[in-house]
Amino acid sequence: MAVISFIDAITMAMREEMRRDPNVFVLGEDVGVRGGVFRATVGLIEEFGEGRVIDTPLAESAIVGVGIGAAAYGMRPIAEIQFADFIMPAVNQIVSEAAKMRYRSNNDWNCPITIRAPFGGGVHGALYHSQSVEAMFTNVPGLKVVAPSTPYDAKGLLKAAIRDEDPVLFFEHKRCYRLIKGEVPEHDYVLPIGKADVKREGTDITVISYGLALHFCLQAAEKLAQEGISAHVLDLRTLYPLDKEAIAEAAAKTGKVLIVHEDNKEGGVGGEVAAIIAEQCLFELDAPIKRLCGPDVPAMPFSPPMEKYFMLNPDKVLEAMRELANF
């Protein structure tokens, strides 16, 4: 099995799906000749031509809107939002149209669109190239929100998203693109959307995370293991709908839960995870449910020290994990 980067897994998934199904096509800003600003679509226009790899104007509402129309007619669009920060003009299309199409047409129409969006910070991208916007979409029934953290999961979940009969919003942490590498099978496989994954077994504390922060958790867990603290790490993978069963199971395992995400704390996905645990696991809990998240400020600052302050890192996570373990 080849060890490849996160972004190569994304590209591989798209290429395989485009080969498998002629209805799959890609559209977005600079996805064609340029191969995407992150190079996620590199090589696709050469293989599939400009009819299936479409450079669009700088108009996110149109990128998603065109995708929705095509999806309604049986195509399988993969719409790329260059940075998740730019998704705002397309929110109306995603929330009011894509997410509701099946429901409001009484099942006559559906909308199998996949919307890819790189999110997150730590790349000196400042306000408009670093945000985590997932929480805005995790309250929209009809939409699925996926955020893988490993190359293996990225490929399997992106293929599942493309084949899904309903809209899937697919968030890729841009810092993971080239930082995170892992084994990815070259054959075809699909991972189920809506299922979390235990990335590390442990007995002292449970850490629940996703995206880049999950890797910080795993690194911290590795260090803590040397101190004799055993951490159980759950990767949510899908942020909406949440895998409530897996969350409750992981929480019950140790009774001490830390939820970690880069997105702002208040109103973040972690709040919902905490609520699920509070509802289902009161009598398993041995400590208050804790959250370690980005600060509640409008966006990622540009100043490197400020960005560093905003961002999580393995040390911050380790400190929070150790504190919970000692509770």
Partner: protein, 457 residues
């Protein structure tokens, strides 16, 4: 001193770069911003500018090697040879201000960034420090559940958590070890399934004991001598113990007693019992008369029929009388519901039914709950005085002692009368002596007025 030059961040999402060509060699003099090397990444090709002026002393990374952002790539000896060229633009003493971001990630800023989250941790530490043992008796839901399911006395568990808190792991370790706590721990499941439903669900159970000498739940380290018999504590016994301790601990008990002339009651009952047994198939005992008198007095003094609820006192509308029923090894307190709506016959039947079902182990949950006042028939085993423990959360308990013939003074003459003591313990948070005295006087009066006119039905 040689200054380190690191691989700079060359673009968003770029994590590594390849030194494709060095543009300087060891010994070269460079000025700040001079190009040092060509670097290629999968996004861009770029040149690495020098962060200071000086002389190159070592190239750390060979050409063609790919390294992560922030990796040391070469050393530059600051100042040497470059003095006059650098002077106008960059004062030599100034610490390196990197053009590219990554150098910022070096140690200098780590302190500033780490300082920020510090206060919250300090606060947390202070909270713990200010109350060193505060956490010891703060039990989490998981700890409560485990300790209750396995009959573990938490006051005897040494906590390993913050501030001595007992953690779920601490309790689990005891359960896994199986031996540390009393034997009852070992088979909680068996105990629960074999016991009749009423005993298994023993929480709302016992309270009305005979004397105040009940042993506390956890005596400090008592060891058994050779030949001593060790009796495992059953779940019911454990519940009794903890309820007794709880009541004694929470409710300040005050005690009072009145003596009642029961001569008329004895005469009336002796005269009525034969007829009653024939008609009702039931022995007419004294207890229903006492309960009846208590219930009527409770109607007059509803405060007695109340409960302490922290910031308020709840006066109960229903009058449900708990009666203490002993078995060989335990004590149960089933409840006569709405006793104020029952005749003496009704009460007699209820007492008979509850006693029979208690001894048969067939009490239901409903039979055990809802009591608002307890009557304890200690006279049945010859006691003439007792200090009952209140059946928490009730406000008072009354025990009926033995009826004995005693010489008493009536109108300055000595007479032989059937006398009975009524002993009452009261929760002094809720009740004071005055209201209890009046209540007891009322009970006494009702009992002494029993006679041919008293209605059984």
């Amino acid at each position: 001193m040689a200054t380190k030059v690191l691989m700079p961040q060359l673009g968003e999402s770029v994590t590594e770069g390849t030194i494709s060509k060095w543009l300087v060699k060891v010994g070269d003099t460079v000025k700040k911003y001079d190009s040092l090397a060509e670097v290629s990444t999968d996004k861009v090709n770029a040149e690495v500018p020098s962060t200071i002026s000086g002389r190159v002393t070592e190239l750390v990374v060979p050409e063609g090697e790919t390294v992560a952002i922030g990796t040391l790539i070469l050393y530059i000896e600051e100042g040497a040879e470059a003095g006059e060229a650098a002077a106008p633009t960059a004062p030599a003493a100034e610490p390196t201000v990197p053009a590219a971001a990554p150098a910022v990630s070096a140690s200098g800023l780590a302190a500033a960034v780490q300082a920020a989250p510090q206060p919250s941790r300090q606060e947390a530490a202070q909270v713990l420090a200010s109350a060193p043992n505060a956490a010891k008796q703060r039990y989490s839901p998981a700890v409560m559940v485990l300790s209750q399911e396995h009959g573990i006395d938490l006051s005897r568990v040494t906590g390993t958590g913050a501030g001595g808190r007992v953690t779920r792991k601490d309790v689990q370790a005891i359960i896994d070890a199986g031996g540390q706590q009393p034997a009852a721990d070992a088979q909680p499941a068996a105990a629960q399934t074999t016991a009749a439903p009423a005993t298994a669900e023993a929480q709302p159970t016992p309270a009305a004991p005979v004397s105040a000498s009940s042993a506390p739940a956890a005596p400090a380290a008592v060891s058994a001598g050779s030949g001593d018999e060790i009796i495992p504590v059953t779940p019911v016994r454990r519940t009794i113990a903890s309820r007794m301790v709880q009541s004694k601990h929470e409710a300040p008990h005050a005690w009072t007693m009145v003596e009642v002339d029961a001569t008329h009651l004895v005469n009336f009952r002796n005269q009525a019992k034969g007829d009653f047994a024939r008609k009702e198939g039931l022995n007419l005992t004294f207890l229903p008369f006492f309960i009846k008198a208590v219930v009527e007095a409770l109607k007059e003094y509803p405060m007695i029929n109340s409960t302490w609820a922290g910031d308020k006192i709840i006066v109960k509308k229903n009058i449900n009388i708990s009666i203490a029923v002993s078995t060989e090894d335990a004590l149960y307190v089933p409840v006569i519901k709405d006793a104020d709506q029952k005749s003496i016959l009704g009460i007699a039947k209820a007492v008979d039914d509850l006693a029979a079902r208690t001894r048969a182990g067939k009490l239901s949950m409903d039979d055990m709950t809802g009591g608002t006042f307890t009557v304890n028939n200690t006279g049945s085993f010859g006691s003439i005085q007792s200090q009952p423990i209140i059946n928490s959360p009730q406000a008072a308990i009354l025990s009926v002692e033995s009826i004995v013939k005693r010489p008493v003074v009536i109108n300055d003459m000595i007479a032989i009368r059937s006398m009975v003591n009524l002993c009452m313990s009261l929760d002094h948070r809720v009740l004071d002596g005055l209201v209890c005295g009046r209540f007891l006087q009322s009970v006494k009066q009702k009992l002494e007025n029993i006679g041919p006119d008293t209605k059984l039905y």
